[in-house]
């Protein structure tokens, strides 16, 4: 059974003056159990809207979403019991209460009581590395610590499916690395995770498959490697000291898509055919140029390529 089945999902927001904003347009996606699925897209692409619908806090305008076979509209209670949610940012906890009190409350919210609740809270505090700070007020925590507490909250019911909406947004690099390590552990425990991010490296490092979403539409769903290969049939060759006439010759080679000057990298030749990169390398070496490197594009470059270079610009 699929953990998540999203079919033709649409969501329209009514804005002032009768204006409508179509946040999701016919999104279909299937996430099998045990998969970590990365949802990539710029701000305003529809990632959070999708997460909110899956989490039952927002109703779809059209289409259906099933979590472990349960419909988010007609079987809301069933879905709520199967899901853990971690929304990004440092909000979401009761700052005047301690980490343990916060987690105890949320464990109660998910129906845990007595010794079982105490055990679960202890176990989670330990797991997210907050056991030593359990008696401190959350208001004094750093953003990374709060986010770890949010992850513990999302796990309190031991859910089969975990939704992480921009979980590392605003974290410093060390906290983000630790957080990713935690998600990596969850991955190995067989949980299904839907994680939104606009950090390409994060998606590539953690996800079994990645979906790109833009302007409310799903652009593609593939493994990070496959997405990488899409444009790395698009390879690239960087070389320093390439004279003008050679650049022109390289541009004329079959399979070469572009030749451009890139600050810090010298001349960058992009190809859309694996054989073309070899031809470029040969031409460079024959011309006596030895400062050459060959690489595949990052997921970010794939992403930018697919959404037309709009990058992280907010869609208005």
């Amino acid at each position: 059974m699929s953990a998540l089945q999203i079919e033709n999902l649409g969501r329209v927001y009514q804005r002032g003056g009768g204006e409508e904003l179509e946040a999701l347009r016919g999104v279909s996606l299937e996430v099998p159990e045990g998969e970590v699925h990365g949802l990539l897209g710029p701000n305003g692409a529809g990632k959070t809207t999708l997460c909110k619908i899956v989490s039952t806090v927002l109703l779809p305008t059209s289409g259906t979403v099933r979590v472990l076979g349960r419909d988010v509209v007609t079987d809301t209670a069933g879905v709520k019991n199967s899901l853990g949610i971690v929304f990004g940012g440092d909000k979401g906890a009761y700052d005047r209460l301690t980490a343990r009190q916060n987690l105890t409350f949320w464990a109660g919210v998910y129906g845990l009581t007595g010794a079982r609740r105490r055990r679960r809270v202890d176990e989670l505090l330990e797991r997210v590395g907050l056991a030593d700070r359990a008696k401190e007020r959350v208001g004094s925590f750093s953003r990374g610590m709060k986010q770890r507490l949010h992850l513990a909250r999302g796990l309190v019911s031991d859910p089969g499916v975990l939704i992480l909406d921009e979980p590392t947004v605003g974290m410093d690099p060390v906290a983000a690395r630790d957080f990713r390590a935690l998600v990596g552990e969850l991955r190995s425990s067989g949980r299904t995770i839907l994680m939104t991010t606009h950090d390409m490296a994060e998606a590539a490092a953690l996800s079994d498959r990645v979906s790109l979403i833009d302007q409310g539409r799903l652009v593609l769903t593939e493994s990070p490697d496959t997405v990488g290969r899409l444009v790395s049939s698009y390879e690239r060759v960087d070389a320093r000291g390439v004279p003008g006439p050679l650049r022109e010759r390289l541009a004329a080679l079959p399979g070469v898509v572009s030749v451009k000057e890139v600050e810090g990298a010298g001349t960058r030749v992009e190809t859309d055919d694996p054989d073309a990169a070899l031809a470029v390398l040969r031409a460079l070496v024959d011309a006596g140029i030895s400062d050459v490197s060959r690489s595949r594009p990052s997921l970010e470059e794939v992403y930018l390529h697919l959404v037309g270079g709009r990058g992280m610009a907010v869609d208005t």
Partner: protein, 259 residues
């Protein structure tokens, strides 16, 4: 599937813990001594010492209602502003029962109000209140507090639907104080107005509390207690249904997080 989470007990325990940690929860108490001084001065100035017990009951109930208005709004607004409303709504807990439990916990704030009113009346005016029917008094204050929390649950639904509804807090105090006979017994109202007052649980609660302080036997105490509880239960049923309806509307319109 897990059984539904026990929202009421959880909310009550949670709110009492929060009360212990936040001084601002007790702001509702500030008015109690001042109201006692003003009301008792007026009563004594008019040579109506027989009404002195009224001046102790009124500040207690006023604090109860003020706390209900304050918490019903702040609870929803704070959870919304601090990113907690969505995770709560997404959880399996019964949201109306959680709110009701929290509001019942918040009602504990009014317990010191009675002590403050008694203390001020005794220390400033030498008028020491005697509770002649303590059992009735305790039951009446408990039933009134429960019904206040139930009514506040209905009010909290307004804050789901209209995040800017804080003005409700400011406008609903005085009309309720007057109409429910907290300050002036409803028996002194014109007949039609008294009828209207009897729809409010607070009018039954206020009368019962005053009677519990008087030496005369309390008439039909059980029946009047039942009236307080019944009106509170109706308010809770209405409040729960309204909360559920407004939550669904907010989910449909995407306004759950809109501040």
């Amino acid at each position: 599937m897990r059984p539904p989470a026990p929202g009421f007990g959880l909310g009550f325990a949670f709110q009492t813990r929060r009360l212990a940690r936040s001084v601002d929860s007790y702001f509702a108490l500030v008015g109690a001594p001042f109201f006692t001084i003003v009301f008792l001065s007026m009563v004594l100035h008019s040579d109506r010492a027989d009404l002195a017990s009224y001046t102790v009951v009124a500040p207690t109930l006023m604090t109860l209602w003020t706390a209900a208005l304050m918490f019903s709004g702040e609870m929803i607004s704070e959870d919304r502003e601090n990113g907690r409303l969505e995770p709560l709504v997404a959880s399996p807990v019964s949201f109306p029962m959680l709110v009701f439990g929290r509001l019942c916990g918040a009602m504990l704030v009014s317990v010191p109000a009675f002590g403050l009113a008694i203390g001020v009346a005794g220390l400033f005016f030498g008028f020491w209140v005697t509770i002649h029917h303590p059992v009735v008094f305790v039951l009446a204050i408990a039933a009134t507090a429960l019904s206040t929390a139930a009514t506040a649950t209905a009010l909290s639904a307004v804050f789901i639907a209209a995040p800017g509804a804080r003005i409700v807090q400011n406008t609903l105090s005085m009309p309720v104080f007057l109409l429910s006979g907290v300050m002036v017994p409803v028996a002194l109202f014109p007949g039609w107005l008294e009828g209207l007052s009897r729809v409010l649980y607070l009018s039954w609660g206020a009368d019962l509390l005053r009677d519990a302080l008087a030496p005369e036997p309390v008439e039909s105490a059980a029946l009047r207690l039942a009236a307080v509880v019944l009106l509170g239960a109706l308010a809770l049923a209405f409040g729960s249904a309204t909360l559920v309806r407004f939550l669904r509307r907010a989910r449909a319109k995407g306004t759950l997080t809109r501040v």
